[in-house]
């Protein structure tokens, strides 16, 4: 698969668009997009190749949503001196997974500050070739995102739910619960657990909200357009003064 095909494939993944847009507003962010049903086979060697570009980041990682092999992924990364943490605010690397609408050959690409990033590395090139040649088409897209968590990313305190543009509820992120909301287009269910919030069920047709990774940082949101539904994390954005 060449790069153009890679992007065609990615674009049909419902997750891609919102994430690419999100990555444009933040600086210093590095993202690895990996298509493979078994990300655990490739993730550690890919991260190793990126090591010299990621030295500024810490070594804490977390999963934003679940993957059948997440236990194995956690084990492999822990062996490579990565530390698993529960809350995304503590993580330097977050892994999220989503389904592609159609299967594609395993491959990967790097995005930095919203742009495709070429690293001239023989190892990465041979890995790409090997993945393409010897593995079956896959439908799982893994997004490994390095976050400069010190810059502008603060843990949220609560989740505000908007329906038809009006705020109808605010729930603390400390709670563990699931709530269903009746909307114009049907119903939508939001889950809050371990300081993260996500949409666990929706009657809409696109299911973009359903595939959106959980949110936890102030300002992050999940939108369901057909349902006129918006979930937004509220936090202490404003800082009065700085010390140190």
């Amino acid at each position: 698969m060449d790069r153009r095909d890679f992007f065609k494939t990615m674009l049909v993944a419902p997750l891609f668009t919102p994430l690419l847009l999100a990555s444009k507003t933040t600086k210093n962010e590095l993202e690895l997009y990996l298509i493979a049903d078994q990300p655990e086979l490739f993730i550690s060697s890919l991260l190793k190749e990126l090591e010299k570009y990621t030295a500024d980041y810490g070594r804490n990682f977390t999963f934003l949503n679940s993957h059948p092999q997440e236990g194995e992924l956690e084990r492999i990364l822990s062996q490579k001196e990565w530390r698993y943490v529960q809350k995304p605010i503590q993580a330097d690397l977050t892994l999220s997974f989503s389904h592609l609408r159609q299967k594609a050959l395993p491959s990967f690409t790097l995005v930095r500050e919203g742009r495709i990033w070429d690293i001239r590395s023989r190892k990465l090139y041979s890995l790409w070739k090997k993945m393409n040649e010897s593995h079956n088409p896959s439908s799982c897209l893994t997004i490994a995102s390095f976050k400069n968590r010190q810059i502008g990313s603060f843990a949220g305190e609560s989740v505000s739910i908007y329906k038809e543009g009006r705020k109808i509820k605010t729930i603390s992120l400390e709670e563990n619960l699931s709530r269903s909301f009746r909307t114009k287009g049907g119903t939508i269910t939001a889950m809050i657990k371990d300081g993260k919030a996500w949409v666990s069920d929706s009657s809409c047709s696109h299911k973009i909200c359903l595939y959106s990774p959980p949110v936890s940082l102030a300002g992050e949101r999940i939108i369901c357009a057909p349902n006129h539904f918006l979930l937004e994390v509220q936090g202490s954005h404003s800082i009065d003064t700085i010390i140190g």
Binding site: Q150, D240, T241, I243, G244
Partner: protein, 307 residues
Amino acid sequence: MAKKLCLFLLVCLTLSFSCRYQEKWHTATLLYFDTVCEIRIFCSGAAFKSALKEVHRIFTKIDTHFSPGSDDYSSAIVFNLFQRALQVYHDSDGYFDITVGPLSRAWGFLTNSRHMPTPREIKSILKLIGMEKIREEEETLILLPGMELDWGSIAKGFGIDLASQSLMEMEISRGFINAGGDLYCWGENPDNRPWQIAINHPRKTGYLGVLSISDLGAATTGDYQRYFIQGGVRYSHVLNPHTGYPPQGKQSVTVCGPETLLCDALSTALFVSTQPEKILEKYPDYGAIIADSNGKLSFIGKAYPFK
């Protein structure tokens, strides 16, 4: 006609009074202690003027008595702060020590000629270090020849406490004073919430996190503001009074608690000490956020809201 004029004057007078006495948020940026001081208080315009005068009076006093090179050992204010420093000296097993003056001088941190002294130099200077070497006679401090006091890790906190206390006595019920990283805040912030105090990241742009506090002081000691790098090792201006060398192993320590003076002194003590928990056991109202040499955060002592 005269009546109308009287009424007009009355209205003008009331208006100007209400302007003068209407409370709102005021901010001022001042230069003291070789650093930028930020003051934000909620009060009337008139009160703001007198508040600034008062802060100026107190900070100037602190600057005169406690600047490097000051040899005033008998003023009441000096004697007073010495007693407070002595207490922290004992409680921290000597990790907080205002007699490090000659050491800071040898490392060139006082004269801006930073370099590493020879081990022999350090060894001979260490004989001049230790607060128990100072005698107190009739409210005067007697130092050994060659000894020099460095008030840098306690005077700013002291000044902020005095100034904020004074402003509160003027019935200014909300505000903060932030003098180059040492801070006291009281009442609620403009959003009617606790004050949101961001702590600078010791290595990157951005913050370690945000303290959400009220009626509390906070102070940070780090290895990133005054330092030099030699042979790949970072030597900070904070020196270990026991060894004569800058401690390794921490990037920054922020202490939060009721008195800025103690926050200031304790942040230095915890930064230098290898057993910071032990020191904080004696200060149950104080808590610390420590960034180790890998930037990893740990929290010891009393927990204050931090995100």
